[in-house]
């Protein structure tokens, strides 16, 4: 009969009304500014740039390859290459961005930049309190505002960060082994000719290899030092292109 369903519905909402005063656990509302919901790993808002180590500018993974700029559907990324290069975690010299801007009022949070980045250098953030009082300027984030440390990434996306770190450590280990093998081969070749000089070079190269994954092994003291010191040094050998991360 018409009306019974209506009465059932009224009873349900009536119970909710009364119940919400007596059973606080019924309430689904979070008092937001004071309380937050626990973060969800898959959540994403806007992109940020990841850096390793302490120095945000030196440890920046971005190589200014501009793949993300090309791929970005709303075209909210703006990159200018720097003329100066810097070494990456494998010690190879890479380009670095001079300007890296994202207009987050244009960004739609699709995450395509993250998908296409070959260097794991751009990731999606979980911050959402992004309001600003300036209609135009406040929403245009510059490189300095965009950088966040790999530790932070580990915090918000623990699982993914661990995987990436492991992969990168693996790369380093492989590169080391390769370098060592090369060094051995060279040493053998050089054993006939010059043996003393080669040993010194190999040692330096090895120390620079171990330095990069410093973020994952914060206790490894020589990492920053080695990174900083190894910058001016030329690559000791051709240590294979950093194995393309999936």
């Amino acid at each position: 009969m018409l009306g019974l369903g209506i009465i059932k519905g009224l009873v349900e909402t009536g119970r909710n009304f009364v119940g919400s005063y007596f059973k606080p656990e019924r309430l689904v509302t979070i008092q937001y500014p004071e309380k937050h919901l626990p973060p969800v790993e898959a959540a994403r808002t806007i992109p940020f740039l990841v850096y390793d180590g302490k120095d945000s500018m030196k440890g920046l993974r971005c190589t200014a390859c501009t793949i993300c700029e090309t791929e970005c559907p709303p075209k909210c990324i703006y990159i200018v290459k720097d003329t100066v290069k810097k070494p990456d975690y494998l010690g190879k010299m890479q380009n670095q961005p001079k300007v890296f801007d994202i207009d987050i009022s244009v960004c739609m949070g699709c995450g395509i930049c993250v998908e296409v980045c070959p260097f794991e250098s751009i990731k999606m953030d979980q911050v959402f309190e992004l309001s600003g009082s300036d209609r135009f300027g406040a929403m245009l984030l510059h490189k300095a505002q965009l950088v966040k440390s790999n530790d932070y990434f580990g915090e918000i996306c623990h699982e993914q960060a661990t995987q990436i770190n492991a992969a990168r450590a693996d790369d380093v280990r492989k590169a080391e082994a390769k370098a060592k093998a090369d060094a051995d081969a060279k040493a053998k070749a050089a054993a006939v000719a010059v043996s003393n000089a080669a040993a010194g070079v190999a040692a330096v190269a090895a120390s620079s290899m171990t330095a990069t994954p410093g973020t994952t092994q914060p206790d490894s003291k020589p990492a920053p030092k080695a990174a900083s010191t190894s910058t001016p040094l030329p690559a000791p050998s051709k240590p294979t292109v950093p194995s393309a991360t999936p």
Binding site: M1, L2, G3, I6, G9, L10, E12, T13, G14, N16, F17, G19, S20, Y21, R26, L27, V28, T29
Partner: protein
């Protein structure tokens, strides 16, 4: 003592009018009636906005607004209307470029003015109708129908397809539901024998002894009341009949291009219309300001009126919290295939009830009740079945359950 408490506002008005020079008394008398009504129902409007949101929230296991503070004091959100009001009034008034500016401006005014006028005939207490019109109920429906024009003006002048669709929906809905709305009141007018609201209320006080003689406590009255409530909900464009403003379909219907103060006026007009219809429902079916029995007459009449009024408003809010929106065809089918036939049958039932009132034999009362109740319930069930039609198969869930 009780009487003077009951008539305190009436005496106050007389005293105030008496203070002025005699030549000005007609004007002053009018003003003294209008100002309190506007103040009172304006406050009601403010209160209803916050309580509606509170109740809606609680009915959906949320908290509702609770954050407005005044000078650092927590008010549990009670000052929300003031904050809203300030926000509304200070917002930019945007008029679309293509809009018909004059009509666009006039629409909220045309909507709100008649809505306020509706209160003038509703008796808020004993001797407390602003004007005791002989044809008050006709006045009520006549003025109430003016809002259709306003809705049309709003929808058409915005030059926006959503607005136009919304206003067309609203007009179709209002015209359709005006028929059962008026038809459902006719039994009351027939049995009360008057078109004056105060006399209708008095007719419901006759013989008040142990049990209230409100019209809602008769078979035809109950049926009429239900039809009236449904039609009133639709007339005031409230959920589940809020198709004209369906946010999820046509943005906000005829309100789409309104902002700021004009939007607030529309908002006000709708709520005032709702109050007026609720007040009319109280007057027609729930005994107006009458107490349910002699023993309770020490409570002043206006308190009775506002008590019933508040119950109805809460009921409207409750319904809004519960029911989902209807489809347009369902809406019109409900009006023409369910409410109108029921209201028409109800006319006959009321006439029967009246004539069976002269029966003298012993079991006359139960027989009268039985026949009338049957004549009300059977068509209800039958039309409900027809309405459901059984065309739609029960929903099957592929994964759930």
């Amino acid at each position: 003592m009780i009487d003077s408490l009951d008539q305190i506002f009436v005496s106050l008005k007389h005293w105030l009018v008496g203070l002025t020079p005699e030549a000005w008394q007609p004007l002053v008398s009018i003003l003294v009636s209008i100002v309190p009504i506007m103040a009172l129902f304006g406050t009601c409007f403010a209160a209803t906005t916050i309580f509606e949101r509170k109740i809606l929230g609680r009915a959906q296991n949320r908290l509702g607004p609770n954050r407005v503070r005044a000078f650092g004091v927590k008010t549990f959100g009670l000052l929300q209307p003031i904050a809203d009001g300030i926000k509304m009034l200070t917002k930019e008034d945007i008029v679309p470029f293509a809009a018909d500016k004059v009509v666009h401006f006039l629409a909220p005014v045309v909507l709100t003015t008649p809505a306020w006028m509706l209160f003038s005939v509703i008796p808020l207490g004993r001797n407390m109708a602003a004007i005791d019109l002989d044809a008050g109920i006709l006045f009520f429906f006549a003025v109430g129908s003016a809002s259709e024009l306003a809705v049309f003006m709003a929808g058409w002048s915005s030059k926006n397809k959503y607005s136009l669709v919304g206003s067309m929906r609203a007009i179709a809905q209002m015209i359709s539901y005006e028929v059962p709305l008026v038809l459902s009141t006719i039994p009351v007018l027939m049995l009360a024998g008057t078109l004056s609201p105060s006399q209708v209320v008095e007719a419901q006080g006759v013989g008040t002894g142990f049990f209230a003689h409100w019209f809602v406590f008769t078979p035809w009255g109950l049926s009429g009341f239900v039809v009236f409530l449904i039609a009133a909900t639709a007339e005031s464009n409230r959920s589940p009949f809020d198709l004209p403003e369906a946010e999820s379909e046509i943005i906000a219907g005829f309100l789409t291009e309104y902002s700021g103060f004009k939007y607030a006026l529309f908002f006000l007009g709708e709520y005032i219309g709702l109050f007026a219809v609720a007040g009319m429902a109280v007057t027609l079916f729930l005994g107006g300001w009458q107490a349910p029995c002699k023993a309770l007459e020490f409570i002043p009449s206006y308190l009775w009126f506002f008590g019933k009024f508040a119950v109805l408003i809460v009921f409207f809010i409750w319904v809004r919290a519960t029911l989902p929106r209807l489809r347009l065809d369902q809406l019109l089918a409900l009006a023409w295939r369910f409410l109108v036939p029921l209201a028409l049958i109800n006319l006959v039932v009321a006439a029967l009830w009246h004539f069976m009132g002269s029966w003298q034999f012993i079991a006359a009362m139960p027989v009268r009740w039985g026949i009338c109740a049957m004549l009300v319930v059977l068509p209800f069930v039958w039309f409900a079945r027809l309405l459901n039609g059984g065309k739609v198969a029960p929903r099957k869930y592929r994964y759930a359950e």
